[in-house]
């Protein structure tokens, strides 16, 4: 037990007498009925959508008028409630709105809640377990699924790690990242289930990618964690999910990848809107984010091109291991890798970080990749 009450209530005669007196006499204190809070009327602006967080953005409770520094609330008190003396100081680590906020975060939350799905019942498992895949395809697919399960477990841990560290006033963000925790847990579940239904089970973990995942987990601030998790890593995984849908061997697998890509794209959307918010409201963070991305991109280059990740892509996209299939797989995989990095820089530019290209080693790798594609005669756009 690391935290103890300052009082043993059952041994406190005054406390016990007061409790018993109230029940015996019916004399109520009722001071809570005079809470110094706003009385408001909130109703759905769009009945088809239901009552959303945006409908609750009213004086006294809303997020639009929330100050940049959350000084007043250091407890679990919900934003807008009266905070009486005696509420504990929870010592939240993040108390600055621009460290966590994102444009439209409330609508990302509502979208997340309405688009939840169930890995047990929404994927056509009966059809998938009957699908017979050639040995080399099945092994490559199981290796890809092993990698994805590994990645999704850390994607669950990172937002979960930050949830309890945010000031309670950042309610909408906490709720959004709670949905992300559920999404990522479901992704780890669905990839594990699919790996164990291929007949081959899980294959080999990826040491280089685990180093990258550790880097993601151990970011110094929420904004750095978000930029590398939501925008960089999930942006690249989103491209990978689309690629995986493209090369999926069955219609059931395609559906599986469409379902996970929906969640991933929503997380990327939050990451983009958060980075924009940070750059607009906390410009001093720009250089810190660049420094963090310098190392993040180094890890990405090492991890994404590890053999246990890249080779299954080549076999799956070439649809086999014959020489011509491997050649075709190399072309498709090279085009995918270029697309993945191009989209990452597109997103950074849109967020207000266009200068990233100038200082990025990964951008130099992208230029090398584009030149290689041209030499292979592959059209990218």
């Amino acid at each position: 037990m690391s935290y103890l009450s300052t009082k043993d209530f059952l041994a406190d005669k005054d406390f016990v007498d007061r409790w018993q007196y109230t029940l015996r006499s019916g004399e109520l204190d009722l001071s809570w009925m005079r809470a110094a809070t706003e009385q408001v009327e909130c109703k759905p602006q769009n009945a088809r959508r239901g009552l959303t967080f945006r409908d609750l953005d009213v004086p006294g409770y809303g997020y639009s008028t929330m100050p940049e520094l959350a000084r007043a609330n250091r407890s679990f008190a919900p934003r807008g409630a009266e905070i009486p003396e005696g509420c504990p100081d929870l010592q939240a680590e993040v108390n600055r709105k621009s460290e966590v906020w994102a444009y439209n975060v409330e609508s990302y939350y509502e979208e997340a809640m309405s688009r939840q799905w169930n890995a047990t019942t929404d994927v056509p498992w009966a059809e998938l377990v009957k699908a017979e895949l050639p040995d080399d395809i099945a092994r490559a697919y199981s290796q890809l699924l092993t990698f994805l399960t590994e990645v999704e477990m850390i994607a669950t841990d990172v937002p979960a790690k930050w949830m309890g560290r945010l000031n309670a006033d950042f309610f909408e963000v906490k709720n959004f990242i709670a949905t992300q925790v559920m999404d990522e847990a479901r992704h780890a579940e669905v990839f594990r289930k699919r790996a164990l239904t291929t007949g081959y089970g899980l294959m080999k973990a990826s040491p280089q990618n685990e180093l990258n995942l550790k880097f993601l987990r151990d970011a110094d601030s929420f904004s750095e964690a978000s930029t590398t998790l939501h925008l960089q890593a999930e942006g690249m995984i989103l491209t990978l999910f689309r690629f995986s849908e493209y090369i999926s061997p069955t219609e059931g697998d395609k559906k599986l990848f469409r379902l996970v890509m929906q969640d991933e794209a929503r997380h990327v959307g939050y990451g983009m809107q958060h980075l924009k918010w940070v750059l607009d409201h906390f410009p001093e963070k720009r250089e810190i984010i660049h420094k963090h991305l310098d190392e993040a991109e180094n890890f990405v280059f090492g991890g994404a091109y590890a053999v246990e990740v890249m080779e299954p892509f080549i076999i799956l996209s070439g649809k086999g291991m014959k020489k011509a299939q491997i050649e075709q797989g190399c072309k498709i995989t090279a085009a995918f890798q270029v697309k993945q990095v191009e989209e990452y820089f597109e997103r950074l530019e849109k967020c207000g970080l266009p200068e990233r290209k100038e200082r990025s080693q990964l951008y130099k790798a992208l230029e090398l990749g584009q030149a290689q594609l041209a030499a292979m005669g592959v059209r990218t756009h």
């Binding site: 088809r48 689309r242 395609k254 469409r258 929906q262 794209a265 085009a335 597109e346």
Partner: protein
């Protein structure tokens, strides 16, 4: 009653089918996106027809032919030759839904068949945020009574 592709009536028929499948789309969740459709006519050098599809909450609230996309704030545009669209819809009608080679993501992935155009990466990502809803919307072509294609004989195949 059969509808002709490409036409506003064709996309309105899909929108009506979506309204008829309300519970299914409600189960998929909020779907808020504005999608442009550009159909490049195979035989008519440079000619094209444009359509806009507006999705709000669980419905398609607007499906019509437009002269251009200016001021429509489309999130992304799906562009392709009539023959590619036709192959996709025929495949959907044969199978009751797109097979592995004809899903929207597969057709657009490397831009070889359908091309995905966008100005804003946020708008681009909406195709993926709503991927299953987009796919199931196009899969509703399987439920239409009949589809004819401009400049081609009516297909005999009934809805799956």
């Amino acid at each position: 009653m059969s509808v002709t592709f490409p036409s506003g009536a064709f996309f309105q028929a899909l929108a009506a089918a979506m309204a008829g499948a309300h519970d299914r789309f409600r189960g998929l969740g909020f779907f808020d996106a504005t999608i442009g459709i550009r159909v490049l006519l195979d035989d008519d050098g440079g000619a094209e027809r444009l359509f806009v599809l507006v999705f709000e909450v669980f419905e398609c609230t607007r499906a019509e032919e437009v002269p251009d996309f200016t001021r429509l704030h489309v999130d992304f545009v799906l562009e392709g030759k009539t023959s590619v669209w036709r192959e996709m819809f025929e495949n959907i009608r044969r199978n009751g839904g797109a097979d592995v080679a004809h899903s929207i993501n597969t057709l657009t992935h490397f831009g070889e068949q359908l091309t995905l155009r966008y100005d804003d990466p946020d708008g681009h990502d909406k195709l993926y945020r709503f991927a299953e809803s987009v796919q199931q919307f196009f899969d509703l072509a399987a439920t239409l009574d009949g589809v004819t294609y401009e400049g081609a004989a009516r297909l005999a195949a009934p809805a799956a």
